[in-house]
Subunit: 213 residues, 2 copies
């Protein structure tokens, strides 16, 4: 048995823990997720979490992966299309990551929970993921409405865009009860993205007009 194989074997429990933790955390949030359920799903002993990661919180921090979200900004920026189109693309891709249950959106769902239910890791999440994509959208908005907009108004525009997107996730428990038949399949997500995109572009145009007067 080679050294690599040994590592792979000994790392199996650690890897299984990470996979299981991502699922359980994203389904129940940090606080409601129990180490016992995570270990049960990962098929490891209860003590494994504190053996591989010192604490439940450190395990949670280890499950975080900001790359998909940050990659989204870079991907959108690479296209040489106009700012409006880039905003539409961003909203579409962001919603896909946020709402699609089949993809690796677990990451995004996990971070979305942090918004409403802060944990000690929230500071890191804001600094490394949320702040950059807020800045990214702020730059897009600046391009679209021109730079004559105030800092406060710019912030409100960014909040309007994210607010519309996040509501579908934050409000899910309510939405599910209001519209029990509503499912977030690909067609529905595309329709939502189209709506929010057009809605927001019209809103931004109005804001730009206001400031020109």
């Amino acid at each position: 048995m080679t050294a690599e194989t040994k590592i792979n074997l000994s790392e199996q429990a650690r890897e299984r823990l990470l996979v299981a933790a991502r699922v359980v955390f994203s389904e129940n949030g940090f606080q409601n997720a129990t180490v016992r359920e995570i270990c049960r799903r990962a098929e490891v002993n209860i003590a494994a979490i504190n053996y591989y990661f010192n604490s439940k919180e450190a395990l949670f921090a280890a499950t975080l992966n900001f790359e998909p979200l940050l990659a989204l900004c870079k991907k959108v920026n690479q296209g040489s299309i106009c700012a409006q189109e880039r905003l539409l693309d961003f909203i579409h891709d962001f919603l896909m990551q946020l709402l699609d249950e089949k993809e690796f959106s677990v990451q995004c769902q996990l971070m979305a929970r942090e918004l409403a239910e802060p944990t000690p890791v929230l500071g890191k999440i804001v600094q490394e993921a949320i702040a950059p994509i807020h800045q990214f959208v702020a730059n897009l908005v600046c391009e679209i409405v021109g730079k004559k907009i105030s800092e406060a108004e710019l912030r409100r525009c960014v909040f309007s865009i994210f607010g519309q997107c996040m509501y579908y996730r934050h409000g899910q428990p309510v939405i599910q009860r209001l519209h029990p038949k509503l499912r977030y399949d690909h067609r529905e997500i595309e329709a939502i993205a189209k709506h929010i995109g057009e809605f927001s572009l019209a809103g931004l145009k109005q804001v730009a007009q206001n400031k020109c007067q």
Copy 2:
């Protein structure tokens, strides 16, 4: 000592519990709020909760009061102004109830928490409060864009409006870290209301145009 005085005295503990519970629940959410802190604030014994209300959950249900929110719809409807103005008024008053810390917004904050963190009482809240005001806004939107809009698109418009408003509350832990200086005083709330109002009216106009084509 009259019978009425006796009742007032014996009801004091119950009333203090309700007041304290509203504060603690709205600050920490249902789950994070502890019966011990509620009792400490109310200056009653720990057994009082189960004495007056059978359980923590029943106490929570007793703290709910949908009237301020429903009254808001009626008040806005009484003005005989056009639908656009009524929507602006609603957004303004809704944000005031949602964000103002000094008023009796505790109720609204408490219910807002339910959105992201469902408890067994959520069903009641949705049925008696959230569904009616969603329907109220849906009616306003219908008036503004005309009835030619599809049910799904109408739903998305309502979500866009509420999403923008709720983001300021749901996202508060994040917003606080992104913009530490931002405070929700009356001037800021009015500015937010003005922004969301104009942003949304422009969005709705765009939606109406789309459906006309």
